[in-house]
Amino acid sequence: METRSENVLEVCDLRTHFRTDDGLVKAVDGVSFTVKRGETLGIVGESGSGKSVTCLSAMRLVSKPPAFHPTGTIYFDNNNLLSLTEPEIQKLRGERLAMIFQDPLTSLNPYLTVARQLTEVLEVHQDARPTAARQTSIEMLERVGIPDAASRIDQHPHQFSGGMRQRVMIAMALLCGPEVLFADEPTTALDVTIQAQILELMKNLQKSIGTAVVLVTHDLGVVAGITDRVAVMYAGRIVEEGTTAEVFANPQHPYTRGLLESMPRIDTPIQKSLYAIPGLPPDLGNLPAGCPFHPRCASATNQCQNIYPETKVISSTHQATCWEIEGTK
């Protein structure tokens, strides 16, 4: 149990399945990872790889039905988040666990002023008095770089630009100084110059507040700049995990290598043709047997078509799930 004090979040064998018209969809199918206090873990993958559902499951925000109750365990401060009652999880959510979403326009309430949406968090979780809550909220808005916060706090979300709205979301999430922040594609909807601003802001705030961040993204460039460790997901499972430095310098899984190679880069000579991973993203309702990546993998063997690969240890902080990798089991 000693490790539990260092790890703020421990996810073990998480499975979240959905019942759909096309059959059972295993969106998350046996995901395990840990997050240490104050660190940033990147979860990378394409749409449908299960990265968002992993976060939503931890926040207990997947709606049932269509989802089944997620199985596995998610330990946070000696509580299994998956077995807490609704009032218990509500106490944690917003105070010690927070989440920011990709599209700030659909995740802020358009009818309420920013003031109302921010002070509510403090009034619910910390029993703050309205004037004190308002003061704290204004200070938080200033910290996330909203100019003229004292007057803008009374505006509605539509009066803010995309980048400013994302700042409001970040302010709201950090009001109570959460221990874990799930950030689901926080900069995907933003322009690159605004993305650079928001990433810088998140880095600085994280340093001063000490929040652990789980950053979900499809952009390996963002991961390289901001995370300590990275987990690569494919078809509902983690296929490679390690420190960001190791995974980028020495990617092991063919999918990770393919992703890295197929990214058009600004710092390389112009390439006439880019490397492309062949084939299509997997259909989650109808996954192939064996390793789900084998139809797109150049080094797939008979074994890959039949049996799901074992996880191989490359170093104490780096592992990958593939038959073709040399490493200890």
Binding site: Q195, L199, A224, G225, G258, D267
Partner: protein, 343 residues
């Protein structure tokens, strides 16, 4: 296809000069009576393209790059400026019908030679039409082929974009994003166009599929000798497919040069900031890189700043920039910049 046998000279295949597009937008305030304001989405854009060239048009959302693309194709009527396509002034090919401007016959005929690929492969294909009828529509409109021949043509088109011709009985929802984008490309190619505007053709796709579609576009361009105006917000992607790149900000082109020059020797402070904001998938570089993070956001085109449109965020802003709009000037062969400060 055009078999007029025009000599292949180095003349301009497409020449856009002082292009302007204005929109009427409701002003804030009135409930029953709303005053309208003018929004200049494109404000004096000029560039030209030679036959077979790929020009990348880059900028952030709201800078007017898509509007420029549409105005070049005359899908929107420019409020001012000229678009000369293969020596024909296509901006004049409009006629007034009642209070509305519509294309005249000459412009309709030119549609065979210029086409568009759209950003969202989910919104740009009619969900109630089969792939076959989607691809047959342009052929039917121009009465190109019929019956068996038309079906063969459609099968050929699907193969050109790397799809199984047997899928023509299926509907768009049965395909993934990348496959739908291929169908959109096949539709644009149906009439054998010479000029294509591709408006963010990869930004709605998964990372592993983006490279596939970019490679397909490069291949097609080579094999069919297309002239391509490639609109994107992703500088890293666009530089691999473009010969030259034009960077837009608030309705204007601020810098135009070869793809290599834009990345190696950007001159305009906005281009420099844009480049430095692009994340690189390499942790060592990301941690050691000196970043110029721009403060603030792009001003609203309804109420643009006086002088240089970029002066509100520019680290090099001088007194003159607040008053005078900088004009595009050539600083070396093939490299144009609109900035007072750059030498």
């Amino acid at each position: 296809m055009n078999t007029m046998g025009k000599e292949k000279t180095e003349t301009k295949f497409l020449d856009v000069s002082a292009l302007e597009v204005q929109f009427q937008v409701p002003k804030r305030g009135g409930f029953l009576y709303q005053e309208s304001a003018k929004l200049k989405a494109v404000d004096g854009v000029s560039f030209s393209m030679t036959r077979g060239e790929t020009l990348g048009l880059v900028g952030e959302s709201g800078c007017g790059k898509s509007t420029t693309g549409r105005a070049v194709l005359q899908l929107l009527r420019p409020s001012r400026g000229c678009v000369i396509f293969d020596e024909e002034p296509i901006h004049e090919f409009w006629k007034k019908k009642g209070t509305k401007w519509v294309w005249d016959q000459r412009l309709r005929d030119l549609r065979r030679r210029m086409q568009m690929i759209f950003q969202d492969p989910f919104a740009s294909l009619n969900p109630r039409m089969t792939v076959e009828s989607i691809l047959a529509e342009p052929l039917r409109n121009f009465d190109v082929t019929q019956g068996v021949e038309r079906r063969e043509k459609i099968q050929h088109l699907l193969m050109t974009v790397g799809m199984d011709p047997r899928c023509m009985r299926r509907y768009p929802h049965e395909f993934s994003g990348g496959q739908r984008q291929r169908i959109g490309i096949a539709r644009a190619l149906a009439l054998g166009p010479e000029f294509i505007v591709a408006d963010e053709p990869i930004s709605a796709l998964d990372v592993s599929i983006q490279a596939q579609i970019m490679n397909l576009l490069s291949e097609l361009r080579e094999n069919l000798s297309l002239t391509l105006l490639f609109i994107a917000h992703d500088l890293a992607a666009i530089r691999h497919v473009s010969d030259r790149i034009a960077v837009m900000y608030l309705g204007r082109i601020v810098e135009l040069a070869s793809a290599q020059t834009i990345v190696d020797r950007p001159q305009h402070p906005y281009t420099q900031a844009l480049l430095s904001a692009v994340p690189v998938p390499d942790p060592r570089q990301e941690h050691s890189r000196q970043r110029t993070v721009l403060s603030g956001e792009m001003p609203s085109p309804i109420n643009p700043p006086a002088g240089c449109p970029f002066h509100t965020r520019c680290p090099l802003c001088e007194e003159r920039c607040r008053r005078e709009v900088p004009v595009m000037r050539t600083i070396e062969t093939g490299h144009q910049v609109a900035c007072h400060v750059v030498n």
